[in-house]
Amino acid sequence: MSEKSGLIQELEALQAKAELELKNIQDSAALQSWRAEYLSRSAEVMSFFKRLPEAPIEDRPRIGQFANQVKTILETQFEKKESAIKQADLDANLQNERLDVTLPGRETTRGRLHIQTLVLREIYRIFAEMGFQVYRSPEVETDENNFELLNIPAYHPARDLWDTFYTTKPGVIMRTHTSPGQVRAMREFAPEPIRVTLPGMCYRYEQIDASHEIQFNQVELLAVGKNITFGDMKGTLEEFAKRMYGESVRTRIRPSYFPFVEPGGEMDVECFVCGGKGCSVCGGKGWLEILGCGMVHPVVLRNGGYDPEVYSGFAAGLGPERISMLRYRIDDIRNFWGNDVRFLEQF
């Protein structure tokens, strides 16, 4: 191997110089002028290829090869540097775009269902899973359907349980409960077995205040068939209470009176606010009344087209507004139909 040619030595010096300069470059403008100086067509490395004839013929391939090598090395280093500078620029830019993430999000429009729509649906769902289907009936009813056929004759003491809105048409009233739906469902489906949920608005003549409303939802449950027992009613309603108020809720049914059921009862759940210790929600009693229930009265079965010696059934009625009031600690029943969006949008 011959001595290093002068050209090679020059190339080596050039490479060293270029590398040193590149190392100090910080921005893309300087990088571009470095590129123009060392790697453009008119750049120094390129001039070596033109100067190849200066070298002895046998050295030319080696020098040419070396010059190529230098060029490739510089190009690679350029690319590295270029990407490093781009990254640094990007990082700097991103830093400048930093947001105050605590600023409020841009408001979108969220529509909402009325809270009582939600509660009604929840009740429907629980009962639907047990085979009870929604059956609707009119809000303006005959006295016959609302009272007479439900074993509540005129002047019966039980009529005291309902303060009724009468219409100016004789025998036509605002239904005081969803129970007329019991008669309607039975008359429609007899002699088939029945499992229905009877929901809807009911009306009572009251002076409106924080705890009394003239218009309220009720949901009733009616099961009619063969061999339906008080035990079945208890089991069904206990399941409902667990779904509605939590798996561990304790319940009790105590005797009560509704003319269209017998035996009749009312179901209490242990107060889920205080766990039964007594609080303002349960009035210190530890129990909350949640529904009325009972075995369908033979007179009602008969009026519905079922022989009470063969068929039996149970009915239960509950107040969805009361459920919401207890659950969300709503202290004024007037909020439900007051339509104040400040109330409605809390759900």
Partner: protein
Amino acid sequence: MELVYSWLKEYVDVDLPIVDLAHALTMLGMEVENVRLLGYPKPDGGNTGISFHGLEWDPEKFVVARVDEVMAHPNADRLVLCRLFDGKDELSVLTGAPNLYPYKGKGPLAQPLKVAYAREAAKLYDGHKSGQELTTLKRLKIRGVESFSMICSEKELGISEEHEGVIILDSTAPEGTPLVEYMGDAVFEIAILPNMVHCANVIGVAREVAAYLKKPLKFPDTTLLSKGPSITDKISIKIINADLNPRFVVGLLQGVKAQPSPYWVQYRLQLAGMRPINSIVDATNYVMLEAGEPLHAFDYDVLLKRAGGETPKIITRTARKGEKLTTLDDVERELDDFTELVCDSAGALSIAGVMGGLESEVTDQTTNVLLEGASWNFINIRKTVASQRLNSEASYRFSRNVHPALAETGVRIGLQRMAAWSGGTIAEGLVDEYPTPRVDPIIVISESDVERILGIQLKAKEIAVLLERLDFVCTIENDLVNAQSPAYRTDIGKDVIGKADVIEEVARLFGFENIPPTRLQAELPPQRGNRSEERDRLIQDTLANLGLQEVISYRLTSPESELRLYPAGSEPEVPQYVEIQNPIAVEKRVLRRSLIASVVEALERNIRHQERLLLFEIGPVFLPNKDELLPDEPARLAIALSGLRHPNTWDQKGIQLLDFFDLKGILEALLDALHIKEYVFTADTHPSFHPGKCALLSIGEDQIGWMGELHPKVKENYSFLEAPVLAAEIDLDMLFTLSPKDFVTTPLAAYPPVIEDLAMIVPEGTTSAEIEKVILSTGGILLKQVNLFDIFRGEQIGAGNKSMAYRLTYQAPNRTLTDNDVGKLRIRIINQLEKELGVIVRKAD
């Protein structure tokens, strides 16, 4: 009803703590809501189901004491000093009680007084403050005399509001005994169910408790201790209508003297919620509360006088037309012809079972009392109560059907109590008119009946044992029990109803708590679902997803409120409403016919609190139907919007307001959710809406609803702000009927579409719907979509014109369309537009 604990214990040995007794009463069907304690400490621990209230009388601090002498106060006329023995010490106690003045300065009392005495540091209610404010007795000087204890009034002990004088106990009260031991008590506030009038008295409750505890009932002795001559020739009774008055019993007590009842009687009456009057009246009230029979005491001498010295004759009959009677509340009442009266030969004496007349009422001067116990038709009593708006303790009971047997029992117990407290001699015997004695029903019930209804297996013997504890008279035949209802109950029916009544009694005494819960095993009915419920759900969800808030309004409204939707001066004739006969307020006297009115009002209510409001409601309206008894209740949807289109944010202030096309967009989205395609909005007029901003929505031939911007003059009827108010009302029933139950998807296109824009100059009067219709019908099956994307008005277009630009999408299912295909269609469309609508299509540059 207020049930007094000590009173109850007279008839049954209750060995239960108060809390457990309350629970037992509740589980027997007499729900105890709260318990008032007199002297007893509050039980601790929660989950009792009851709230307790009352004042505890510390046994160390409150005792029965004896007052031996009442002396004047050296420095004050209105105060006295009592020489008092509290069981341990003799003390001098200062008091200002006026009811001690009569004893002042009389020296040592021959009959010492017994009082309730509170020692120093006792905690009691302040007698001088209104309500119940606790205070502690402290040592202090009053007008130079030291005072550290007191003789208590009822108010101070929490018995009543009475603070005029101190309590003077019966002379048998043992001095030194802690007061709580002597007269500590509890009052259970129990709810009496409408069918349980036989429990609306102490003995009635005691029977139930006795049955629950399996203990005997200690019924009061009803033997008359008659010492006087026979009653027989003193009075006669004639019942005109035994349906209305099944039984009438009287007894006579001669030589009575009305006076204050013994303190224990007054105390019990007070605790039970009745005011003591005098020993005669108190006896009637006491027996009513005790045994459940309302009694009526007549002044026998008034009857004699009215009979002109003849033997008085009681006649029960209905009132004559126009007949009047002044009742003892001093109100002259005009009587209905169905109202049953107790009369004598001179006319009406009392409204039967409701209220006595003023004239024959007993007074302090009365010496001879005729005591009435009767049985009345409860339905007739209810009619009278409703018509006279006259409620009384008697009518409360009689209107719930009191058993005729109680008439006699009541008079017997009543005569004894009255004689014991007022003196006098009971005449021999009773006059008892009972034309058709009641036969109490016998119910036949089988083991399988009980199992079928209750789900528990009981042997006939076990059923009979339960019923016998409730005084049913039972016989057993194999698996059958024949049970006769006891002669004090009227709530047990006959046959299949009686069976249910008896099964309820079995359940109650067996204990609801002891019936095991089971899962429904009965046959599952056909599962039908509910279309209207599914419809509501879909519509509610769609609108909520579109950003609307659901509201629910009162269905009761007023015609005026609905007329606000019309410009003042051009209201239509008021339509027929379902009207409420007994409204609670004029603004809630009819059922709504318009749902839009409700929602617009809801919008108005909120407009000052919200920058944008989008509300909807679904529900029925009520339309009287000439051919039907009941009105139609078609379901409607109403929407109302107003305010900013987009919410304001910290970097963007909304300026665009919700307008016609926002509402239309919502309706279109709803129609899309229902997969209804063939709908049209056509310009329409409706008095509620802006004449240029109102549209009718139809599907085929059917008009589904209206939408638009409220007419400016309608808006004036409400307190709205500047922003326009948009509203729509849709017939939901019809809308949902027209929604297809099923729909199919179209396959995704495999070949690319060709998209072209078409701009044209159009006369102002030409509608977008007209243009689209021409384009679509000319474009044929290859034209998939037409979308308006720009409207422009300006000088270069010319007055009375607008420029409308549509984007047309062509697509074939089986090939890529060529320029040639599209070009031919374009020319055809342009020609048709120009020919049919006179528009000028702007040629592409």
